[in-house]
Amino acid sequence: MSREDYEIVIGLEVHAELSTKTKIFCSCSTEFGGEPNKHTCPVCMAMPGTLPVLNEKVVEYAVKAGLATNCTISKDSKNDRKNYFYPDLPKAYQISQYDKPLCENGYVEIETENGEKKEIRIERIHIEEDAGKLNHDDFGGGSLVDLNRAGVPLIETVSKPDMRSAEEAEQYLRKLKSIFEYIEVSDCKMQEGSLRADVNVSVRKKGETEFGTRTEMKNMNSFRSIVRAINYEADRQIDLIEDGGTVTQETLRWDDVSGKTFSMRDKEDAQDYRYFPDPDLVAIKLTDEYIDNIRKELPELPEIRKQRYLEKYKLAEKDAKLITSSKYLSDLFEKAIEVCNNPKAVNNWIISDISRILNETEMEPIEIPFDANQLGKLVILIDKGTISSSIGKKVLTELFENPRDPEEIIKEKGWIQISDEGAIKEVVMKILEANQKSVEDYKAGKDKALGFLVGQAMKETKGKANPQMLNKMFKEELNK
């Protein structure tokens, strides 16, 4: 049998750090970075005698996430302790939710490779606290514990095993990320680890109804690695089965450099987390009114926003989808339009050059260094003819590298377009003189020659000459 005879089954457990100002059980800041253990207090350091107090914002954000992913919100929920020993877990238990999660039975819609819509079901979303971080000392051989992240609130979104390809898994994760960004519950910065996924993969022969044995790859935080890891792991499992072996249920570590998964042997026996209700916290009781109020305040979600773009700005479906896939891109789009009032131009910049640079540099939209005002001004400069669109591309590169007012950039770089008729004429005459062959070609009916001459003139002026004026003046001179 071959790979085509197998079906891949994927389920995702996605951890998103919530963007609340303070931690889930104390009032320490959730700010990323900072000196080790700067954002700590007796509570998140698990000093003896301290007690957790649930941050109400965390519940609110989780309910928001649940409503935006079509979940049922539980009105009677609670916190449970998940017990295990590790130095980054100072209480030796993580406060999480076990059998009564806040949100259950939701779904999000994705588009499969062949353009069909597909629902990926969400089993549950629950709240929990993040652990700290171990810094392994390269010199002394010891490890140092940094508890800045300990107690940062997370929501864990558990999907059903509904995905059938790495691409579907990527689509699902992108969808979830975009929803969380829209409802502003998480900044979803994957490189900082504020969005990460545990990926469960199994394979089965097509037509089977039972699931195969799954393996789990933990803490994946890039789309590219997830796609690679799923494909690698599926191949590995298929090869194993084809060779007469069986898949072992285990946790694997994906290594991005070698492109392989490795068994995590340090986890000795199967963990028994001894979950039980946390006696330090009271039950989480929500009213219909509370849930309805959050529902009413939900912002416009990507799907709706896309529809609006189609109708209001007449964008192409493909473009509208790309822009609305990220709240940051989409906000950039809308705010830049407010500045320059040219939706078509802003759309083009985003879907072509900006997207290309993001892809090349593996940058997330949220990391775009310039703001909507600067993008809008760039468009205005081109619309007014102050610069050509080819200079515009250089300005954009500059905006990515060292963002500042585009007008300042072009002044500084001397990129202002030459629109002075005398100056243009001088260039035109010089080029015509130097390219007699092309002049003859043109007169012999080869229109292409005009393009060549304009190109030469642009070269001469380092791209600064107004291309429309050049065109016009060349024609006039040639037709004399």
């Binding site: 007796p42 000093m47 003896p48 916290l281």
Partner: protein, 489 residues
């Protein structure tokens, strides 16, 4: 005048009348500690020097009119499982031998606000697990009535220090009887408040759903006063109740006429010492004389409560004590090969046997496959116990039982027999299981001169009812006038 003989309300009276000064009071207690500590061994940490300095400062401020509070300069002793900033909090464990908390427990903050002076941290069973204070890593506290007997536990240091006049009053904590049983053994008054009445913030957790801090005092009036000082909702403890603050001294009416008291026969059966039974019967007669409606009743909760208690308490403890792992503020084993080895050796070396026993029990009952049979079932029993009590309180205002089936036993008498030790909690644990308030008041001594304690149980947040019942009995009998610890060798 022996200053240390006085109750706190008597001290207040004398301070007010300028018969005594704050420094005189503290000096008297410092002298008393210096005299008796070698026999009683109640303290893990004494703060005699700090207390002396503090007394001088407070006295000056009082004289300058900067401080006017009625508790300013009154000393106290604190069980060593309540966090005190800058002073060691050991829980009588090798694990926390050198632990200094960077913060104060909420109750400590409240006492500090009143300018109350801390004389020191009092001995206890390690992590409050035990009923004799023999499970302290540091020392075995002796019972002031007979130094060969245990003071009870786990707040044995607190009860013994109050009985021996080494502190005028003390704070203890009670998870299954740890305030009431030692109070009974030492002939003092100890109250376990309703779960949620006093903030647990800063109390090193043993079993979070059962632990409560409470006062241990010479008499009921002092008890009501100290309760006044420590109650109140605390934002740092979400299990603390948001109920109106009361003045419990106002409830002490010295009148029990018409008070309905139920006496559950199950608490007077097998295992109760004849002298204890006799003293309790005398107390019951006294209540009748005082005009209370006393009636025998049935409350079939005791035997189930004990089993449920040990499952729930151990389960919570196994999780609560996980943080003592050798990584941060605790003891750490010297030689280790890797992370697992740090955990294993640290915890093997620094926890005592009783603590290990309970961690193992608790880990077992929470394990997958056993959770339903033990932990979940115990929680159901807990609900049944609450229902039983609710039914009883439909009929009665107060439930009267012995605090312990026995008086204080010999040091070393039960320490090798954990089950026998656990059985001494039989009268007290159901009160914790149901989250109710319970008070232990002395009701005489047995034929060997050892104190017997009576437990009065009230409905939730009905501390006023049991305090008044205890007060009325105390006024009518005068235990303290007729009985004094003899420090028998």
């Amino acid at each position: 005048m022996d200053i240390t003989e006085l109750t706190v309300h008597e001290l207040q009276e004398k301070l007010k009348n300028k018969e005594l000064t704050v420094t005189q009071i503290t000096k008297a207690y410092v002298d008393r500690i210096n005299e008796k500590e070698k026999d009683v061994k109640a303290f893990v940490t004494t703060l005699t020097e700090e207390a002396t300095n503090q007394a001088e400062q407070i006295e000056q401020k009082i004289n300058n009119g900067e401080i006017t509070g009625e508790f300013a300069g009154i000393p106290i002793g604190i069980k060593d499982n309540m966090c005190t900033k800058g002073v060691k909090t050991t829980c009588s464990s090798k694990m926390l031998e050198n632990f200094v908390a960077p913060y104060n427990a909420t109750v400590i903050e409240k006492l500090n606000d009143e300018n109350i002076i801390n004389l020191g941290k009092l001995n206890m069973d390690e992590f409050a697990m035990g009923g004799s204070t023999e499970h302290s890593y540091f020392k075995k506290t002796a019972n002031p009535w007979n130094l060969n007997k245990v003071p009870g536990g786990s707040s044995g240091g607190s009860a013994a220090a109050v009985a021996a006049n080494m502190v005028p009053w003390a704070l203890g904590s009670d998870t299954g009887g740890s305030i009431r049983q030692p109070s009974s053994f030492c002939g003092v008054v100890g109250l376990k408040p309703t779960y949620g009445l006093v903030s647990r913030y800063g109390l090193v957790a043993f079993a979070s759903s059962l632990d409560q801090i409470g006062p241990i005092t010479k008499d009921v009036y002092d008890n009501a006063m100290l309760l006044n000082l420590i109650t109140g909702h605390d934002e740092k403890d979400t299990t603390s109740s948001n109920i109106e603050k009361k003045d419990y001294t106002k409830a002490l009416k010295n009148d029990v006429k018409g008070l309905k008291i139920g006496v559950p026969k199950e608490f007077f059966g097998e295992g109760i010492e004849p002298d204890v039974k006799a003293k309790l019967e005398e107390a019951i007669e006294k209540y009748k004389e005082l005009g209370a409606d006393v009636e025998e009743c049935s409350l079939d909760v005791a035997k189930y409560s004990l089993a449920a208690y040990y499952i729930i308490a151990c389960a919570e403890a196994s999780s609560n004590l996980g943080r003592f792992d050798g990584i941060r503020y605790t003891y750490r084993a010297n030689d280790f090969t890797d992370l697992r080895d740090i955990y294993k050796k640290t915890r093997s070396e620094a926890f005592g046997d009783e603590v290990k026993r309970r961690i193992i029990l608790g880990t077992y009952v929470l394990s997958s496959g056993y959770y339903d049979a033990y932990y979940k079932k115990a929680q159901k029993v807990r609900t049944l116990v609450m229902n039983e009590f609710n039914k009883a309180f439909d009929k009665y205002d107060v439930i009267l039982t012995p605090t312990s089936p026995t008086v204080a036993f010999d040091i070393g008498g039960k320490v090798e027999d954990p089950l026998a030790m656990y059985l001494s909690d039989i009268c007290t644990v159901s009160v914790n299981i149901a989250g109710l308030p319970g008070i232990s008041v002395p009701c005489g001594v047995d034929s060997n001169g050892m104190p017997v304690g009576m437990q009065l149980i009230g409905n939730k947040f009905q501390e006023e009812t049991i305090l008044n019942a205890a007060y009325t009995y105390e006024q009518a009998t005068g235990f303290r006038k007729n009985n004094k610890p003899q420090f028998m060798h």
